[in-house]
Each structure stands twice: as structure tokens, then as C-alpha cells.
């Protein structure tokens, strides 16, 4: 099967999930207390104005039609209008998105830069100090409330030592603390998986063959061990995007980083539900797309997986 076809199948598989995600958001917004039309009109609005807005929004139609309308407008990139800013939700998201992307990439880069070498080294030398650090790190990563560790970082580096800014995004230095905080969330698991994957690859038959052929250890490590270990590592990185995006919401709030995560929390306090649900759906879309990319990357690295995935996809 060609890669292009696999991509096509994988994208098609995501469609029910996408529709489902939209349905979940639609239902959640329906459960919300209060009349959305009145919310938009404001507390002093006349009943006839509220009624007019209700008709404009299509709130007088049957529910299933409302859902179809809702889906079709989202697919056209129309996430509705923000109550607070009175601008299209998608514009607000796009204005703040670069900050979130920068933060997420910086965090991922830090996590990878520490977790991969540490994981590989501790797999090669399981009884070393690095191995011990790796297991502590993975435990701490899974047990630390990141909003708290972020505040502790602010206190240590911004208040006590005065070497880094505490919040905002004015200079490049502002990204250091939030990126490290968010990286902590990813690092532990990434180290653990890397370590396990490299250990497994080290024990496999073809590595044994490579050793018996007398290949140099560097060649074996790069060409045979790491190449095989990359598959679980990429998988976990794909899965971790969920934690990364969720963690970004918390981290951005702690450091007043002006991305879509802090915008989401602000919008909830302002009861700006169109904006809030727009941001959540947007993040879910991104998550789904990244998962597709991960799967494709996976198939690209390991042609065997492509076949397996393809069969699994059809059954």
C-alpha cells in the first residue's frame, strides 16, 4: 500500500472522532446554565431583542438542525463571535496561537534534549547514576503539580535570585520559566519510555547479529538500536501532545503567558462561552491532526507498521 493511501485512510478514520468531538462540545454548551441569546444581549436587553438574537443564532430550530448548522459553520472556520471582544473567535485564537506554539515547541525541545540522552544513557548503563536520576525524574514528573512547581520557580528565580522575569512575554527571556515548567511534565515519561525502548532494542536479535558481525558500537547504536527505539518514542511523543496542550493551559495561566490556554481560562471567567468552546475545539482538532501525523511518521520510519496499521484500520 502506498503511503498516500495510508494517509487517506488515516484521515478518513479521524472524521467520526471529529464529529464526535463537536457533538460533545455542542452538548456541553447546551447543558450550560443560562440562555446564550440573553448572555449576548446583556442583562438589560428587551425580550424582543433577545428573541431576535435567538433567531439570528438559530436557537429556535430543532436541536439536530442546530447541530448541523454548528458543524457546518465550524468546518468553514467560523467558531462564532466572542462575547467579550465582539470579534470572530477564530481571529482571537489566531492572534494568540503563535505564543502557545512557541511555548509548546520550546518545552518539547527542552524535554527531548534532556530525556533522550538521559534515557539512552541509562538504558546502556542501567546501574549508573544517570539511570537513578532517570527513574527519579520520571516519578517526579508524574507526581508534581505543574502549577505549583511553576510558582516555586517564580519564587526562586524571579523573587529570590532575580535572574529571570516572573510573568508575561515581553522578552525572549520570559519563555525560559514557562518552557522549563511545561517540559517537566513531559520529561519524566519520555525518559522512561526512551529507556525501555532502547533496552528492548538492545536485547533484540538483529542487534546481536550486528554485534557478532563486528560492527562498531556507534554504528550499532545509531543504525540499529536508535532506529528501532524511535518507534515507541515517537508514539509517546504523539500521545504526550495531549498532556502538552493541557499543560500549556495551566502553565500559561501561571506565567500570564498570552497564548490560547490563558485565553481559555480568561474566557471562562468572563462567561465568554463561544470563545471558550472555540478554543477547546481548536485544541482538539490540533491534537487529532498531530496524532495523524504521528501515525504517518511511524509508518514512514517502520514499513512493517504500515501493513499492521492498515489491517487494523480495516477490521
Amino acid at each position: 500500500m502506498s503511503l498516500a493511501r495510508y494517509v487517506g485512510i488515516r484521515v478518513a478514520q479521524a472524521i467520526p472522532t471529529l464529529v464526535g468531538a463537536m457533538l460533545v462540545m455542542f452538548v456541553l454548551v447546551r447543558i450550560l446554565p443560562g440562555d446564550p441569546a440573553r448572555l449576548i444581549a446583556g442583562p438589560e436587553a428587551l425580550e424582543q431583542d433577545v428573541q431576535r438574537i435567538r433567531e439570528q443564532l438559530g436557537l429556535n430550530k430543532p436541536l439536530y438542525l442546530q447541530f448541523v448548522d454548528y458543524m457546518s459553520s465550524i468546518l468553514r472556520g467560523d467558531f462564532g463571535t466572542s462575547i467579550k471582544y465582539r470579534t470572530p473567535v477564530i481571529d482571537e485564537i489566531m492572534a494568540r496561537l503563535p505564543y502557545t506554539i512557541t511555548l509548546a515547541l520550546a518545552a518539547e525541545a527542552i524535554a527531548v534534549a534532556i530525556a533522550l540522552p538521559l534515557g539512552i544513557y541509562s538504558a546502556i548503563k542501567p546501574r549508573s547514576k544517570a539511570s537513578y536520576i532517570a527513574s527519579v525524574l520520571s516519578l517526579v514528573g508524574a507526581s508534581t503539580p505543574i502549577f505549583w512547581i511553576g510558582l516555586i520557580f517564580i519564587y526562586v528565580f524571579a523573587v529570590s535570585l532575580r535572574i529571570l522575569p516572573s510573568s508575561g512575554a515581553d522578552t525572549p527571556r520570559h519563555i525560559i520559566l514557562p518552557a522549563v515548567t511545561l517540559a517537566l511534565l513531559l520529561m519524566g515519561n519520555l525518559t522512561r519510555i526512551t529507556r525501555a525502548a532502547v533496552m528492548e532494542a538492545l536485547g533484540s536479535n538483529h542487534v546481536l547479529t550486528a554485534i557478532s558481525k563486528g560492527l562498531g558500537s556507534r554504528v550499532i547504536l545509531v543504525r540499529h538500536v536508535l532506529r528501532n527505539a524511535m518507534i515507541p518514542i515517537i508514539t509517546i511523543m504523539g500521545i504526550q501532545v495531549g498532556a502538552l496542550l493541557g499543560g500549556a493551559v495551566i502553565t500559561e495561566t501561571v506565567f500570564a503567558w498570552p497564548g490560547i490556554g490563558s485565553l481559555l481560562i480568561d474566557s471562562l471567567f468572563y462567561r465568554d462561552y463561544p470563545l471558550a468552546q472555540g478554543i477547546i475545539l481548536f485544541i482538539v482538532f490540533v491534537f487529532i491532526v498531530i496524532n495523524i501525523i504521528t501515525d504517518i511518521l511511524y509508518a514512514y520510519i517502520d514499513p512493517r507498521v504500515r501493513e499492521v496499521l492498515w489491517r487494523a484500520g480495516r477490521s
Partner: protein, 298 residues
Amino acid sequence: MESGEILRRVYEARRRRLREMWETLKSNRAAYVSLYVVGFLVFIAIFGPFLTPYNPYDFDLSRARQPPSFAHPFGTDELGRDILSRILEGARYTIGISIASVLLGVVIGVILGLASGYLGGLWDTVIQRIVDVMLAFPTVLLAIALVASLGQGVASLIIAIAISTFPVYARLVRGVVLQVVNEDYIAAARLLGKSKIYIMFKHVLPNSISPIVVQATYYMGLSILLASALGFLGLGVPPPTPEWGAMIGSGRTYLFSSPHIVVFPGVFIMISALSFNLLGDGLRDALDPKARALLRRG
């Protein structure tokens, strides 16, 4: 052999297995200590309000933001409330909400997982699509969306966390079901004319208990972090409830001058999550016979 004798042997084998599990758990020092820490946390979650040296809600601005002292071991918060008392009182929120949400999540997940794996067909397809959709949401984000929609409060927090986490159990149980469904004893039960529901709960479910217990223990750690994160964001239980995350959320304004308001509740959150994670590691080794065999060999 008469039936009394058989029963006696069955019980003895069961006892031996439990003793072996206990020995394995005990041999993992970190997990064993964590067991006591978890016991202690549950204790303060139940009896915390009777142990508080001060009233956790009484505010007195004249003694606001005092650093830790002999009278107030963890200091006082921005309204002069004793932080130790608030942590003891708050344990029932943070820990209690986590326990309740894990239980609820397990119940939903187990029922859906059993139905999906054992009934198969349309049930399986529908349930798996639901699980797919739930897993398409980052956990924190789904929980945020749910609490925002259900409104603030303990009940909605429990429901939100349970719904955000049940898909994992559903997947897990389905996997186990598919593994055991072709075993002889299931066929035997079917031949005896037992109903599907009976077989599901009497024969299939017991096989899933070990992985569920391990997963649920890990998820206790996750739920504590999730509940406190929502509290921190101001989406959890409303003030003045001393939920640990909410304490950090309201204390962060005074971080620059009085960091102790933020530090102590965070330490408790971290210790709680850490001990559940360590206990999960220990239980995984104790309940998984394969890992156990390895351990004994090593």
C-alpha cells in the same frame, strides 16, 4: 475427595496467593512506605476536621500572612487562617474527590469495557467510538470543559474527572475480556446455561481486577493532580473551601512576600500523588504474576 476438602484447598491456595502478593509488595520498600502514607492521607481525609488546631474558616486579618511559627507550623494565609488546619480540613476535598472520581470512573469504564468486549458487535463499535472521541480530548481540557459546563462544586468535579478518565479503564477491561473470552471455563459456564450478564460479572470481571486496581492506583495520583489543578484555576470547589489546589490559587497573589501560603498545600499534593504512583508501581509488581516471577528470580 469430598467437596469440603476441595473447598479447603481452594481457600488455602487463595490465601497463599494473597500472602505472596503481600510479600512482594512489602519487598518493594518505596511502595510499602507509600502504603502507610496513603493510609495516613485517607485517615486525615476522614478525621482531618477533628484534628485541626484552629478553625480552618475563621479569619482574622490581624494575624494574616504570618510565616511558619510554633503556634502556626505552616503559617497563616492571606486572611489569617491557620494553613495546617486548612490542609487537614481540605484533605477530604482533594483526596475524597479523587477517590470518588476514580471509583466512578472505574464503574463506568468497567461496565462499558465488559459490554464492549463481551457483547461485541454493535455494542463494541458504538462504545469504542465513544472512547475514541473521549480520548481525542486532552484530559485536562475535557475536565475543564466539563466543570465549566456542570458548574462549580464537589459533585461536578467528581463527574468531570470520572468522565475524563473512564475511557482508559474501558480499553483495559475490553482487552482483558478479549483475552479470556475463549478460555475453557467461560465455555463451561456457557454450557451450564449461565446468562451473559452472570458470566461477565462472575467470570470475566475477576480476571480484570488486577490490572484495574493497578490502573486505578495510578489514576488516583492523576486525579489528585487534576482536581487540584482545577481548584488552582478557580474552576473547582468554590471558596472558602480549603481544597489544596484552591489554596494555592488564592495564595499565589502573595507569592512574592509570603511563599509559605503556596508551598505547604503543594507539598501535600505532591506527596499524595507521589505515594499513589509508588504504590501503583508496587501493586503492578505484586499483582502481575509475570513481573512477580521475574522479581523472585532476580
